[in-house]
Amino acid sequence: MTFAIDGWFAIDHDGVRLLGTRCADCGTVCFPPRHGLCPDPRCGGTELREVRLPGRGRVWSYTNACYPPPAPYVAAEPYEPVTLAAVELDEAGIVVLGQVTGLTVAELEVGMELELTSGPLADGPHVWMWRRAS
């Protein structure tokens, strides 16, 4: 399986998890993983360690792309609207955007619980995706 981007998510024994970083000084997490300085300007920490972020969360908002997005996105043919959800991860205080698999906008609601999975883009490589929580 090829990932569409390296180092942003992993597939473990306990499922798909986003990879972020955690500041060793203040504990602030971020996604995508960050290098260099802690994003909190009051902290100044420089040691950002890779961390697996919670794999579940609640929908902050959602939408879809009724028309095929332009390049560099590779749209499937025939095109089916891509569903997107911004999900607030449990306990991490962070909202992460991703495609949604298996749910249309008609089936989503703000506050609904979703979990992470992965799935292929139309040209093959995998990305993280949200699905209905089991």
Binding site: C30, W60, Y67, G98
Partner: protein, 394 residues
Amino acid sequence: MSVVVLGTGMHPWGKWGRPFVEYGVAAARAALSDAGVAWTDVDFLVGADTIRNGYPGFVAGATYAQALGWSGARIASCYAACASGAQAVDIARTRILAGLCEVALVVGADSTPKGFFTPVGGDRPDDPDWLRFRLLGATNPAYFGLYARRRMAVHGSTPADFAAVKVKNARAGSLNPMARYRRPVTADEVLASPMVADPLRLMDICATSDGGAAVVLASEEYARRRGTTPLVRLAAVATVTPSFPSTVLELPNFATDSWAAAPPPERPFRAAIAHAAYEEAGVGPEDVSLAEVYDLSTALELDWMEDASLCPPGEADKLLRGGETAIGGRVPVNPSGGLASFGEAVPAQAIAQLCELTTQLRDRAGPRQVLRPRVGLAVNQGLFGHGSALIATL
């Protein structure tokens, strides 16, 4: 000491398919003529850049200076996405405030391709603007759709409320000869237009346009020597960035900052932009006579009204429905017709907002004139955390 808007000029917005320089030069000449200033008397020219038009777009200051005829004026060029115009205005006014020049010309113009804005070409996996398209297919309207759906869930707004914004702005735009779309529309038309990014339909989302806008700024002393009346003062330009942790998902990001370890700031980004402008101008939201807000979508106009404290959170729909934000209402919002009637011409739009504030404050807006305005607010935001708010006062 203050900075005065001496003249404004625009090239009509549209999809003309001509080089951006033409629009910029037309707007610049109109602004110079309005100000009664010869190009050769301008000390300083600032060009707001356009990244879609090759190298001349990246060095817009020099491009316009050459097109107007080399005069030896000092120049600057700047890019800050949709906030480029505000930054260009800020660069000019600070040079005037510093006493380094007396009269400056600020120009922004763009030519846009058909369809969605796309990232700059090439394989650029370290650029979030490229990656959001590659990995997610997340276009600009996708983010607008997220904000709109969030507003529906939190404040109970409906697609009919969003359509009412378009109806109001289309009516105002029909009165503006510079607008691209000049036909009034009905709510039924909006609600029957194709869905683009649920819950937003085609007529909820602003188009991408060709257009140009320019202003001539001068020191108050210069304006007084020339007997300019009324004096429209540029009372604030706020180009602030977000404060950590920024808790609203912003274009082109994949995620917010985390607020688990550090508490969110007192004001989220959009509210902080307007607040900084109020503080700088020494006025409050209750003083605002009209506002030009950044209606990338109909729903965002409602968000911006609340972020600019024109009403408490969740009450923008009520103001809209009561006609308070229409021309003739208590606080007209987007009396120019807004992006709904203009579409985006990125480097020009913040300058165009200032053109509208100035035109209104000079009582020259004709059929879309707001009643006896004193204070005009323009708020706007550029990709990657560029705040843009201007306040003009009489």
